[in-house]
């Protein structure tokens, strides 16, 4: 019964019926990258998880920022040499976890539900999908974080009047710089989500990447490990966030706009890996 069937030559189709004659009356237009952007925008705005993660992100950024501003003011507003804009750091660090979650979910939820197969049937160019997702997610996150951090920075600067007035560069780094950095970490999460293809796994990895280096460094008491300890303290993601506010643990680490270039490099490598993986693996 299992002997392979011997294929017979096919009988030609009945005359009179032409092969493959169906043509759709709907005008055929080549899909563009702009179409993919519109599609990803529809996808990201039409699920509740986006609304929830972004809602919590705004709540943390604005709520925590304002709360800390009011607490400092109620303590006579004495913060010494600390730059006043660095008060926004706490909200941004917590909000980063929301951005990571959203970044991972943007792509891994497609794998979790099987939607990726429907998507790739509608658009066989996998690179276009990844690029469209990256652009839509990055811009959305950047705009929201930029608005929230600017609002918080303005309010905090007006609440705490005893501190030195921030310079233009400090303002730029505490709003635009930090927003770009946070969105970039989100983009890294998206790339990790595309590589791991599993929501919970990817989110765990990213939270570990953000928090664990600092925790490890705290417990490195041995002198022989001091070099490693120094490196972890300087280059862990919370330290890099602090660098944007000029509030770093030590002076030897990255400063100014350095963290953004570091993170951009890492993200570019991860996205490249995600692109190669997406193109070669079965879905």
């Amino acid at each position: 019964m299992t002997t392979p069937y011997q294929q017979q030559p096919h009988v030609p189709q009945a005359p009179g019926r032409q092969l493959g004659t169906y043509t759709s009356p709907i005008a055929v237009r080549r899909a563009t990258f702009g179409d993919a952007l519109a599609s990803e925008w529809t996808k990201i705005r039409s699920v509740r998880s986006t609304m929830w993660t972004l809602g919590v992100l705004i709540l943390l950024l604005v709520g925590l920022g304002l709360l800390i501003g009011f607490v400092v003011r109620s303590q006579d507003g004495h913060i010494g040499d600390t730059p006043v804009l660095s008060l926004g750091f706490y909200g941004v660090l917590l909000g980063l976890l929301c951005v990571i979650t959203l970044g991972v979910l943007t792509i891994s939820s497609e794998y979790g539900t099987g939607m990726i197969r429907t998507t790739l049937t509608a658009c066989p160019s996998r690179g276009r999908i990844l690029a469209a997702k990256s652009v839509v997610f990055f811009l959305l996150t950047f705009v929201i974080v930029a608005i929230a951090t600017t609002l918080v920075a303005v309010v905090q600067a007006s609440l705490v009047r005893n501190a030195p007035t921030p310079s233009g560069g400090e303002w730029l780094r505490a709003t635009l710089g930090i927003s770009l950095y946070v969105a970039m970490v989100g983009l890294l999460s998206l790339a990790v989500g595309a590589l791991i293809r599993h929501s919970a796994g990817s989110i765990t990895v990213m939270i570990g990447v953000v928090l664990l280096p600092l925790v490890l460094a705290l417990f490195m008491f041995t002198d022989s490990l001091s070099g490693v300890r120094e490196f972890l303290l300087n280059y862990s993601i919370p330290s890099q966030l602090g660098a944007f506010y000029g509030a770093t643990v030590s002076d030897s680490g990255p400063s100014g706009w350095d963290p953004l270039w570091i993170m951009t490099g890492i993200t570019a490598v991860a996205l490249g890996g995600a692109f190669l993986s997406l193109n070669s693996r079965d879905v």
């Binding site: 019964m1 080549r30 563009t32 039409s46 790739l120 049937t121 509608a122």
Partner: protein
Amino acid sequence: MIEAVGLTKRYGAKTAVHNLSFQVRPGTVTGFLGPNGSGKSTTMRMILGLDQPTAGHVTIGGHPFRELPNAPRQVGALLDAKAVHGGRSARNHLLSLAQLAGIPARRVDEVLGVVGLQQVAKQRSKGFSLGMGQRLGIAAALLGDPQVLLFDEPVNGLDPEGILWVRNLMKQLAAEGRTVFVSSHLMSEMALTAEHLIVIGRGQLLADMSVTDFISHNSADFARVRTPGTEPAQREKLTAALTEAGGQVLPEPDGALRVTGLPLPRISDVAHGADVRLWELSPHQASLEEAYMRLTQGAVDYRSTNDQKAGLQPAMPPGYAPPPVIPDVPQQGWYAPPPPGQNPYAAAPQAPAPHPGGPAPVPQAPAQQPVAPPAAQQPPVPQAPQPPAAPPAPQAPATPAAPTKPEDTR
């Protein structure tokens, strides 16, 4: 037109699809059949460029799927009804796909109307039943109004009205000159929908032919003949006469005879010549399901067994004998007669009362008759081969011998 050449897919040591070559032509509905795990879905994924074949290639209209210009306008597919994000509404799901393919947004409302989901278009698809999910999947496949359509199990979970709708939809799409490739487990549905069949088993091609050819190649038609149940001698007489006339005769469990190799009028003539009355003489045409079962018997990966519930039953009281196992109708060759010389009934007469070392079933039948009345007195053990309505009275002269036969009290 879908064309696969030497398509092979291996996952590690397991070969899911092996050297599969076939063509799916436009203008007809082509059914894709195979047991569970035979590689149907893997093949469909390879056609859509989702899985990369280990060897061989598959093209749609001459191009591999991933190199098609305007793929979504040429190919539409329903792979898995649950392959949607449950948190998105039906309309937004279709809208995102339409935007991705550069299809105008009003087309979304059109296909929602085609599949009858307008009323739930704003609801999240998480709450959809399987049938509604299938409709949403079909809507997504129709979105680009494509020339090639693939459906993996489209009628799963649909109600009878929905099944009828899908059947007509497939036929209509094919009649418009499109290529329609449908996989299904429902043979009766395939028999009504498809004109051409591609059957695979264990990842290999078993058949590629039209439905009518498939049925006639893989099954034998037979005639069912029933002699009066009250006169078993007539049955033996007819069996002998038909065998002599060149037919092959198999007893059926309920006492009828299955005759192959003789046309119906000839059977009637032979019976008339042998002076045997007939209660039934009916032609039996094999269905697609029977032909399919016969073809794929050797290629089934997942077979069910009886649930023994071993160790879960309460202990039997002492002296309790477990109920005797009723011999079942042999499954081998049940759907169609086996080739001559391989008659499972002749080799081991299971359906009638087992008679170790007894003669062949044909001469044995008169001796079986005394067995019937004692069996009828044991209600929990129905003797399948005997017609239950057989009145015991005519057999009375033969009964005295019965109680002394130890092998009868099974």
